[in-house]
């Protein structure tokens, strides 16, 4: 997935000289996860360069470059570090089109690795997507595999508005289904890792059916897509797993279609539960599919605690949490 994301940068920077990349350690070194490796060498250091450790400054400089007419693709080293940039994203980037009645806009992509599963402790594991979903004027995208990662990043770069692009770091090097005691699998053996060469895009706002099924709909994104599929297989449940891919704007048509078909729904995310994006999904499903529902919508999430270091697998919403929830919605 790292190579796919790197390729998306490469394809777009080659086509569009207005794309610039900045962030902590993204230049010569190529980023702590190596997503921008080789780009500075190829495109020069005024298009790919290291930024000071100042997330507020990185976001604000990105906005300024966007206002000029460039297309900044900025990296926040870990999503946990994004908060010094919060004011610039929330109060500025998301509102500039609106407050200037379209006179200015901010065509910027904010990339950031997010999520747990790597024993990163509480400041390298969080899933803050709900904060951004809550912001007017910000699109939020989360890929679950290399194919989509490249296509979605290209679509995000081509989008005229600010896009927060969270990359589930646990699946950078291979799919992870939550069965943490099983051997690690690389992407190489996975069909979803077949990444076409050159330019293609996966449209923002369009979900994918990651596993077709009839019994229950699981709404997920990022790493949790893999957890959902593996749990359905392990429990022998004919679940339909919807990979949302974009959480704002969410693909409501695909959600409705699936839930109306199955009549049951579980929403799944790694982030904390209260006011998490699952609450929004549950509300949408209730508003739109109430008369098709056979059972209450279930939320399966991380707990409302900081992300603990040693008890990572007790915290992580894996198959042991999703399995019983699937069975519970099927019981009614």
């Amino acid at each position: 997935m790292i190579e796919a994301l790197n390729d998306a940068h490469d394809v777009m920077m080659d086509r569009d000289p207005d794309i610039v990349v900045l962030g902590e350690d993204v230049g010569y070194f190529g980023g702590v996860f190596r997503v921008t490796a080789g780009l500075q060498k190829k495109y020069g250091k005024t298009r790919v360069f290291d930024a000071p450790i100042a997330e507020g400054g990185i976001v604000a400089a990105g906005i300024g470059m966007g206002l000029y007419g460039l297309k900044p693709v900025i990296e926040i080293q870990f999503a946990d570090y994004i908060f010094p940039g919060f004011d610039q994203i929330f109060s500025e980037a998301g509102r500039i089109r609106y407050r200037t009645a379209g006179e200015w806009s901010v065509p910027m992509v904010i990339r950031s690795p997010y999520g747990g599963g790597i024993f990163g402790g509480q400041t390298h594991s969080q899933s803050p997507e709900a904060f951004f979903a809550h912001m007017p004027g910000i699109k939020t995208v989360i890929p679950s595999n290399p194919h989509d990662a490249k296509g979605l990043l290209i679509a995000a770069i081509e989008d005229p508005d600010p896009v927060v692009f969270f990359e589930p770091k646990r699946i950078y090097n291979g799919p992870f289904d939550g069965f943490y005691e099983r051997p690690v699998t690389p992407w190489a053996k996975d069909p979803r890792a077949e990444v076409p060469e050159g330019h293609y895009s996966v449209p923002l706002g369009k979900a994918a059916v990651a596993r077709a099924g009839e019994a229950v709909t699981v709404l997920a994104y990022g790493t949790m897509v893999h957890v959902a599929i593996a749990t359905a297989e392990a429990e022998g449940i004919d679940a339909e797993v919807i990979d949302l891919r974009t959480i704002v704007p969410v693909d409501i048509a695909t959600i409705e279609e699936s839930v109306k078909k199955t009549g049951r729904c579980v929403v799944l995310h790694e982030a904390t539960r209260t006011a998490g994006f699952g609450a929004e999904l549950a509300a949408l499903v209730q508003e739109r599919c109430f008369y098709h529902l056979e059972a209450p919508v279930q939320r399966v999430t991380g707990y409302d605690t900081p992300y603990p270091h040693s008890m990572e697998w007790t915290y992580f919403p894996g198959p042991a949490r999703l399995g019983p929830a699937l069975k519970a919605v099927l019981k009614d």
Partner: protein, 446 residues
Amino acid sequence: MTDRPERRNRPAIDRLAGPPDLPSVRGANRTCLSLHVPEPDARPGDAVDFSGIVIPAAGSVARPDVAVAAAETHPLCFTLVRVLDEEGKAVGPWDPRLDPDKLRRMLRDMVLVRVFDERMFRAQRQGKTSFYMKSLGEEAVAVAAAHALDAEDMCFPTYRQQGLLVARDYPLVEMMCQIYSNKGDKLKGRQLPIMYSDREKGFFSISGNLATQYPQAVGWAMASAIKGDSRIAAGWIGDGATAEGDFHNAVTFAGVYRAPVILNVVNNQWAISTFSGIAGGELTTFAARAVGYGIAGLRVDGNDALAVYAATRWAADRARSNLGPTLIELFTYRAEGHSTSDDQTAYRPKDAGAAWPLGDPVARLKAHLIGLGEWDEERQKALEEQLGEEVRAAQKEAEKQGTLGNGHYEDVDSMFADVFADLPWHLAEQRDAAKAETASRSGRGK
């Protein structure tokens, strides 16, 4: 581009044209602008080049009275306070004139930090924990400061000041249990390794989010002043993290309220792969930040334990006299990678640390003691062996309580404790669900 839906931000050049009597941008004979992106002197494959580093002679910098106006310290922001000369002699007005017992104790603490680091780095490589960070080459920064402060003074460290805990006699076993996130970890496995916390030792919990502790140190110092206390605070930040807004918050509040705080900038010149030029180090010194905020500032050879001690003591005396904060830049070099997750050979020449012209802080203090006739190579060797034994024994003891890989801290109740002082209904429900889930996992043999 396949299509460019909107590029309206870029102003049309026509609109930039001024009134007829003013020169227009279009056609004007102006220089094309170009962006400056700082680059370090050497990259992998290049020879290490420290020739640009200006090193004033030890003892050559004047020591102002503690009570001078802040502005009188500002020339000291552009030089380097140094005490130990090339032969290891203590020279000049900053010599703190410490007795040999104190010097030996400082040497012992610095060696202990180094031995401990080596051991724990290896433990991470052996899979016993997830992460570790050494302070190789920077041992004097924390150890000498701890000895210059009072034991009751409050420290707000960043992640490379393990020397503070060592100098304050914090048990090694406690440190290791935290690193292992094991059953003996008093932080209950919650924090990334090395993110220690100990209230009794005046060592505030380390945060993974950079610079946050810096304005907190100022707030603590303000509180101490509000209450007429006698304790001062000290904060540490890296050169890279001075770019964060919290650095500005800290120095602003410290100056405005004349807070009794020492603000240390550990300039080890590297923020992971990013050299200090990206934090502004190409333009001026980090100590020079003091000038703009109107507070006292000192720039110190961070590999010279006596200079670190003397400068810290100067700033502490000043703070204790209600004369306000001091910003101290500790000029040093990160001789190792950033952490166990880092590969320094990917972005800087190999062995750059060994070539650092200000030398090794342990070797320099050792040479000084030997020069005084208060130490010798045999005693050094014996000390290293003894500390090696102590660290090994502590490791054995700590590992009895497990490691992250084998017997980590695990207690579902504790996972939900301390989110708040009490346990609201939703956390109680989640705790119960987590217990049921844990039971089901162990019931299935996981």
